[in-house]
């Protein structure tokens, strides 16, 4: 038998052997479904760890209105407006957190000088049909000076533009562009 | 070889074309004439004592206040484990510098990036197009005086 033909059969044997090794690994999982790792989400919810950075909350009653959080926020997700009340204390009248823009980095929580004033909750399931619902309003809203209405605050979101209508049939022409792409 | 020796070797070889030696940067940098950059780079790569096998990085810098643009080449040697930065000063209004693509092929993309973001033109470059931004983008965004555009195609920026 020549060297070449030996290689021919050896290669074949090796290939078959390695294929069966691989099949051995998978059949181990195939026959014992107990090794599955799936957590059935809506029924089984894993409690997030204590430090989990979920939704941001403010205890507005102890907020001193120092605006440290709004200043450190790298994305301007916190809109904070303060006014001085009769005791010359700063009161946060508007405290909006845009959860759709927040990047959950935790810089604001660290910057907040008051304990447990600004904090993350373990809440993470708050998807919504509209972006406006994702803005949480915490502001006291009691405006000592009525000449500054709440609507005055800079709207963080521009109104969503009307995209193409839903369920619009896509036939014909739309594929021209696809063709150019060569895809 | 440490940076000082590299600088001395260079200034002996390229008399008059080396402008300055900055020791306080990390790694130490040598400011050179923009015309000489290709010669210096191929010297640095070929010379067995130096052997800067790879270009680590190439960055553009906009020094708006001084009316200058910088191109900084970070070079490193695997064999000798030393690093150095070469700096080239360019006119901010008309930044031109020869390409070092022939020395290190990897420089190709870095130069395209510097062109894309700063508008620095690399002469004799084989394929100087925008790389990160779309081809129809206007302006050089990393310049300090860049004004953000208001609209792109059919939507607001």
């Amino acid at each position: 038998m020549t060297e070449n033909s030996k290689g021919y059969f050896k290669k074949m044997l090796d290939a078959v052997k390695s294929v069966f090794t691989g099949l051995g690994v998978t059949i181990g999982y195939g026959v014992s479904p107990g090794r599955e790792v799936t957590q059935q989400y809506p029924e089984v919810k894993r409690e997030p760890y204590d430090r989990f950075r979920g939704k941001l909350f403010v205890d507005i009653n102890i907020c001193t209105g120092c605006t440290a959080c709004a200043r450190i926020c790298p994305v301007d997700a916190i809109v904070l407006k303060t006014v001085r009340d009769e005791n010359k204390k700063l009161r946060p009248v508007v405290f909006d957190i845009d959860n759709a823009r927040c990047i959950y980095c935790g810089l604001c929580v660290e910057a907040c000088p008051v304990d447990n004033c600004l904090y993350f909750r373990k809440e993470y399931e708050f998807s919504s049909y509209s972006k406006d619902e994702l803005i949480s309003h915490f502001g006291l809203g009691e405006l000592p000076q009525p000449d500054k209405p709440a609507a005055d605050r800079p709207s963080p979101d521009m109104p969503a533009q009307a995209g193409p209508a839903k369920d619009q049939p896509v036939q014909g022409k739309t594929d021209e562009t696809r063709k150019e792409e060569g895809k | 070889m440490d940076a000082k020796q590299i600088y001395q070797t260079l200034s002996e070889k390229f008399t008059g074309r080396i402008k300055q030696f900055q020791e306080n940067t990390h790694p130490a940098s040598v400011v050179v004439e923009s015309d000489a950059i290709v010669d210096i780079c191929s010297f640095l790569k070929r010379e067995t004592e130096l052997e800067f096998t790879s270009m680590i990085s190439l960055s553009g810098v906009d020094l708006k206040d001084q009316g200058k643009m910088l191109v900084i080449y970070h070079l490193g040697s695997i064999r000798h484990k030393h690093k150095i930065a070469l700096k080239v000063e360019l006119d901010r209004n008309n930044p031109h510098v020869p390409t070092v693509e022939k020395v290190w092929p990897g420089a190709n993309w870095y130069e395209r990036e510097a062109y894309d973001l700063y508008g620095i033109v690399f002469d004799n470059h084989s394929d100087l197009r925008r790389i990160l931004l779309p081809d129809d983008w206007e302006g050089w965004p990393m310049r300090k005086d860049y004004v953000y555009p208001k609209r792109y195609h059919t939507w607001d920026v």
Binding site: Y41, V75, Y124, F126, G163, T174 | P141
Partner: protein
């Protein structure tokens, strides 16, 4: 279904048929394998063993032609935006979009200082559900998909609107 759509009066039979049709739509949300940035990894992990989107009948398809759901997972830049529009146009209706993560919702981290990022994917295509998070936990994405399923169940296909 083009002939019958939105034409039939509302009665028990047609409403039941409608419910059945909606049930089939919601139970088989094939999502497009479309991921741009960080959220794409979480999208993959949602489809992987621990969270297993396949439980809901949601599998990924590589081609937009066979997908029902586009999960915009990640940052959309201006350079990419045209492609997203095209991909959306290539999907056959009924089609749904989930904006996953802050970037797709509003531009997120790049809202303020970036010149290159599209500030919210809803500027170019209609979005059904916004999932907040940066990136959202896989559980949050599944919750978003379930919310979309609720919405699909409310829709009327045959019955007059």
């Amino acid at each position: 279904m083009g002939v019958l759509e939105d034409r039939l009066p509302e009665n028990i039979l047609f409403t039941t048929v409608d419910k059945f049709l909606n049930w089939s739509k919601k139970s088989s949300l094939w999502y497009m394998l479309f991921a741009t940035a960080c959220c794409g990894i979480e999208l993959m992990q949602t489809g992987a063993s621990r969270y297993d989107l396949d439980r809901f009948g949601a599998v990924f398809r590589a081609t937009p032609r066979q997908s029902d759901l586009m999960i915009v997972a990640g940052t959309i830049t201006h350079k990419m935006a045209d492609r997203v529009k095209k991909l959306y146009a290539q999907m056959p209706s009924p089609k749904y979009v989930i904006a996953m993560g802050s970037c797709a919702n509003t531009g997120g981290p790049f809202y303020k200082d970036s010149y290159a990022v599209l500030k919210g994917v809803d500027r170019i295509i209609p979005v059904d559900v916004y999932v907040p998070g940066c990136p959202p936990k896989p559980e949050a994405l599944i919750e978003g998909i379930m919310k979309l399923q609720e919405r699909i169940m409310e829709k009327k296909t045959l019955v007059k609107k």
